[in-house]
Amino acid sequence: MSVAEQDMNSKKKVVRLLIERQDDPNSSPYTETFDIPWRPGMNIIAALMEIQRNPVNASGEKVRPVAWESNCLEEVCGACTMVINGKPRQACSALLDQLSQPITIKPIRTFPVIRDLVVNRSRMFDALKRVKAWIPIDGTYDLGPGPRMPEADRQWAYELAKCFTCGACVEACPNVNEKTSFIGPFAISQARLFNTHPTGAMHKKDRFEALMGEGGIHECGNSQNCVQVCPKGIPLITSIAAMNRAVDGYAFSSWLGK
């Protein structure tokens, strides 16, 4: 097909989007339909930009443009996570041609919705603070080089380091809901990552204590949705089971050591 022909076709072809919208954090959601002109290689972000350019719904009414967040556009920042056709994923890597139509787009409601597809993911960062998902290296003097990490460990730990707090696992987990305070699968995997690092391991007891605390590892109910929806294929259930083993062991030894 020539470029000219492709242009002709693209003028005719439209893609229908059903977007769940919400005007402000306290108002009730509603669904709005949009028909947008198709272009080759479009992703959900491009479709939303099309609505921004011409904010007219399928009934021809001029409406407020749909609000969303996005940043990196290469599936590494996590800002554009939405529930697309029933599954939480990044809008930037969701290509229109690979989705069945009409395409439904909803915000990830496990987090408080600010407006339309914009959510507040602060609770994920609070969870990372709780499990101390970092490696403390600062001292009042030069602490010198840290211990070396075995290459064999580094290789699998790198997989855990691919987590970009996108919130897909938190959205899919049935045990993250208004009745529980579960921190979510990603935070347990991050605790495992930093416990594996030789310098991070110096604070592993703090992370065990945090995982035994309110909303900790015991809230996991093994539905294993997290590993299915993780865009980076992080072995979240393996991380949870490995931390179960470590935390249970720590709980026993610290209890018997008292």
Binding site: I217, N222, S223, Q224, N244, A251
Partner: protein, 206 residues
């Protein structure tokens, strides 16, 4: 240190819940099915098995400490767990998520069934022997309730053993969890068969 004094109560309750479900509640289920299975050998075999149990020293203490107490804890706390869990198996139809929902559904069914079961047997005020059970399960309503109870309880126990092994860090990797899932489903089929076979033995032999 603030974090060291963090609240570990929920962690302890949840771990005790999974532990109580296997030891002693799960072990008692196996013992109970073993005793019931003697019915397939005829009324005398079953009555002898019942007689042996009734001569366990300090029977009421043993029954209370090793059966009723852990059973009440596992059941009541389990209802709380089932209540606080979210259910999204219709949106996310993966097998493990369905099993997650089924585990909670069969748990609630088993809880209700056990109340009925204790009411019609242990606390019915009647002598537990073959004829008593035969008369009970000869009523089709009781028979079907028993059948549902057997299937729900055996599924809950088998699938619960699978997640017990994850919670206690025994099966960590995906391969280990896949194999244990298959083993536990075979275990469920065998256990359910043993239970139903005993139930049929009570109905048909007299």
């Amino acid at each position: 240190m603030a974090i060291a004094t963090a609240n570990h109560r929920d962690f302890l309750f949840r771990r005790l819940h999974t532990l109580a479900g296997v030891v002693p509640v799960g072990l008692f289920l196996l013992e109970h099915f073993f005793t019931n299975a003697t019915a397939t050998e005829g009324p005398t075999a079953f009555n002898n098995a019942v007689n042996t149990i009734q001569h366990i020293p300090y029977l009421h203490v043993v029954e209370f400490v090793f059966i009723f107490l852990p059973l009440i804890y596992h059941g009541v706390y389990g209802l709380y767990v089932a209540y606080t869990s979210g259910y999204n198996a219709q949106q996310y139809t993966w097998l493990r998520n369905r099993m997650f929902a089924l585990q909670r559904i069969t748990g609630v069914i088993t809880f209700i069934f056990i109340i009925y079961h204790l009411w019609t047997t242990r606390f019915s005020g009647q002598e537990p022997n073959f004829n008593f059970v035969h008369n009970l399960v000869s009523n089709p309503i009781n028979f079907w309730i028993m059948l549902i109870g057997v299937v729900a309880a055996t599924f809950h126990f088998s699938n619960g053993l699978w997640s017990f092994m994850v919670h206690w860090g025994i099966t960590v990797g995906p391969r280990a969890q896949r194999i244990s899932a298959v083993v536990m489903m075979v275990f469920f089929v065998i256990l359910a068969f043993v239970g139903i076979d005993a139930l049929l033995a009570f109905v048909h032999t007299a």
